[in-house]
Subunit: 345 residues, 3 copies
């Protein structure tokens, strides 16, 4: 049984990371990938390892819609088929590298790492705010030297806002006091948290300089393989929710892509409504989010060091672990299913 | 059988390292510890690992005499008992972290890592010069990336003064030529070395600018777990020993605390008599000691690299290994005893 | 079966690296060596690990033709025999470190790592240009964090000049198109490559500012353990070969010495004919060579990372691998022979 779900769309990059010309390398669930764009702007994802001597193809060069290995010159087309070996008339039939289904969807480049016949675009997450005129953001990326599971745990229990993010996203111990509503949904978990009558967090400042108490809400789906889709916002305490004139709203898309068993790519954005604020607001919110996410990274990295030192120490399950426990169970189910499929195949 | 003696007082820190407010982290024999002070200035030592998700408690904050985890807000009292879980009425009985007996004794904070019912202050070493009006020093700390055993070996055979410290603490090959008197004592080894008619070492300069030959003496106990208590000094050759008017005297306390199987905390001071010299003298001697201890660190680290490259190469026992061989045997005895106790328990 | 051939001359250093006074340390096939010169300028190679407590002898000091350990003062003669233990009348007979046969031959210091009775100077490679009035060069050294085998592969297939070194040593895809002549020779492989009618590579510039097409030739032996001896050059297309008045000639000596199973010392020089150019030419060619060898190092290091990530991925053999496959087979034969000798001994 592999440690990662295979049959899923993983975010490999923000669309702007892969240039019109040139080659881009990123490792996804342990597999080094080469990403590049064709003349017609389609994104190609190939195994980043020449079949000849295993040099990374990303150290070679693009030739039209093909890539040529920078070591001994083998040339591969966009499907990974070798179309030229220098000094040979005919290319050996075995000369090829694996290619992966790719979809560019709302500014994220998704790759399908498992059985390509199962690559179904209907499984792509609804990341609408990534590419929508009503929403504005700056794109974020962080690299973690921890397993993705610990970051997923973090995103599935927002009680940590009260402690990790006291000075940024949190601002009140009330957040941790309140029990969220947690539900199983298709391929994931749905979480709702309603926090009435709390001071607004420092994070709101660039967008909303409100001094009184507010009602806050946080609602999100966390779906396989590890994507968060979240509505959140605040209104003056007691006022109507979701009213742009009196309160604020955010939509956030976040995706965790395991790089290896102990390192992770983290793609994220949190959009504010385009009718509110200007470019400076967007920049200010982005910087606030980065600062908060760095707080998470410090804590989770310290947690991982602690776990690595004594891997056999058990964790004590508490009420706030409801969503993360459900999600870990869901991942385990899918891993077992994928393992059974492979065994019976 | 654990690699470390459990039932012993280990130096965890110099007293000044643990602030009146705030949290201090240090790992002792593989166990991450959180140290802090209560309002009544008692030092607390807790397992630095929240029982919930294993985040280090040292990344949290002090609240009165309690500590609150910085991840999800569990609050622990000075005994390690969880007294609050945000969002829960009752705290689960299993919610606690281990606490360790602590004694602050002559400026060193000692922790007892084994069975706390056996934590006997009578076993604390006589580190009188750490806190005595007749003695003056500056406190030293070094971190080693080697097992503590190799540093103990070094301290149990001062023949190395002639070679490692030729330009600092040594100054004569005579030191290595002379056989010390080595005796087993209660929980340790007693070593005496009398070196007549040698040039004074450069190390003496800040305190004693004597140009002629001197008689030197070095006498110490090295006791479990790994503490050195040493009287040393020099007089003009042939003159009476221990006379502050004509010669010099030092008292040194040094303690090795394993951090892990291959890294070590080294706490040390070498005091001169308060009637001799001023603050500049103390500073000068401290700098000389640091320079010499850095010579040890370089050599022992190189030795460890050499051993790591070929772990199976045997060592050739020689006469100068008498004390260190005795001490290693003593440690092994205690490890076996502790292991038997555990098995029969 | 050891991973390295034992009975062979390995280059341990350029002669100028080992000073007239002082000690020099280098690890060869996993064995730390101490190198130094006697009063009569002979080079000594000893195991760099004191038999007492395994401190590296290279941290000690030279005393006449002996070396004294810097830890506890054991003194060893040039044959590795301990001749003094401080404080002991008689030296224990077991007190010695291994010594290795050494030959300084054409500016390279060779050590014999296996059975010293088999150390035959007739097996030294013909590195004449390393020390010849008709040839000029600057000595090169690189450290690789990869197994030596991958660098040997690189040197046994110059088709990579077209791709790795397009802007330095290569300059034409023709080099890769042409099949070299590959032959087994005594203890190695002979490779010839004739490349007519190509643009001259940028590398020639400091020596030969020729604008037209040229004929190039590359001829080398690659012999055990891992030494390249190469003639190469170029003439105006169609002109006579090896004519210093109209074209250029190089002779190159390169040696790979494994440091460990995954790191390598690389010694090299490429000489130009002394009748051509001046010191600036020699410097310019050296810098060009370094730039090109850095291109190799980047590629081979990336290849090694790729292989380390998935050690079980097979390589696809192609026609250009003829020489390297032959050489790997030859190495394997010798390893098996050495293993059988040991078993029957």
């Amino acid at each position: 049984m592999s440690g990662f779900i295979q049959n899923a769309w993983y975010v490999a990059a923000w669309a702007h990371e892969v240039p019109a010309d040139g080659l881009f390398a990123r490792t996804v669930i342990g597999e080094p990938l080469l990403l590049y764009r064709t003349a017609s702007d389609e994104v190609v994802a190939l195994e980043d390892r020449c079949c000849h001597r295993q040099a990374p193809l990303s150290r070679g060069r693009k030739e039209g819609d093909c890539v040529r290995c920078g070591y001994h010159g083998l040339k591969f087309d966009r499907h990974g088929i070798c179309v030229e070996v220098p000094g040979m008339e005919a290319v050996p039939p075995k000369a090829c590298v694996r290619s992966f289904p790719v979809v560019v969807h709302n500014k994220w480049i998704f790759v399908w790492m498992g059985d390509s016949t199962k690559a179904d675009p209907a499984l792509l997450p609804d990341t609408f705010s990534n590419d929508h005129p009503e929403w504005r953001y700056l794109p974020g990326y962080l690299h973690y030297e921890t397993p993705y599971e610990l970051i997923a745990d973090n995103l599935l229990d927002f009680s940590h806002l009260s402690y990790v993010h006291a000075a940024t996203l949190g601002g009140s111990e009330q957040i941790a006091q309140i029990r969220p509503k947690v539900e199983r949904i298709e391929r994931g978990i749905h979480v709702q948290r309603w926090v009435p009558n709390v001071p607004p967090p420092a994070y709101y400042q660039p967008l909303w300089d409100y001094g009184g108490l507010v009602d806050r809400w946080i609602e999100y789906e966390f779906i396989l393989p590890a994507t968060l889709l979240m509505h959140s916002g605040a209104s003056p305490a007691g006022a109507a929710r979701d009213d742009n004139r009196t309160g604020i709203r955010f939509h956030s898309c976040q995706a965790l892509t395991p790089e290896s068993a102990h390192s992770t790519h983290y793609f994220f954005q949190e959009s504010h409504h385009a009718t509110q604020g200007d470019a400076g607001t967007t920049q200010g919110l982005y910087e606030g989010l980065l600062a908060a996410f760095e707080e998470d990274r410090q804590m989770i990295t310290a947690q991982w060091r602690s776990m690595s030192l004594k891997p056999d120490v058990p964790m004590l399950p508490l009420h706030m672990d409801a969503a993360l426990t459900l999600f870990r169970r869901l991942v385990m189910q899918v891993l077992v299913e994928e393992s059974n499929c492979k065994d019976s195949a």
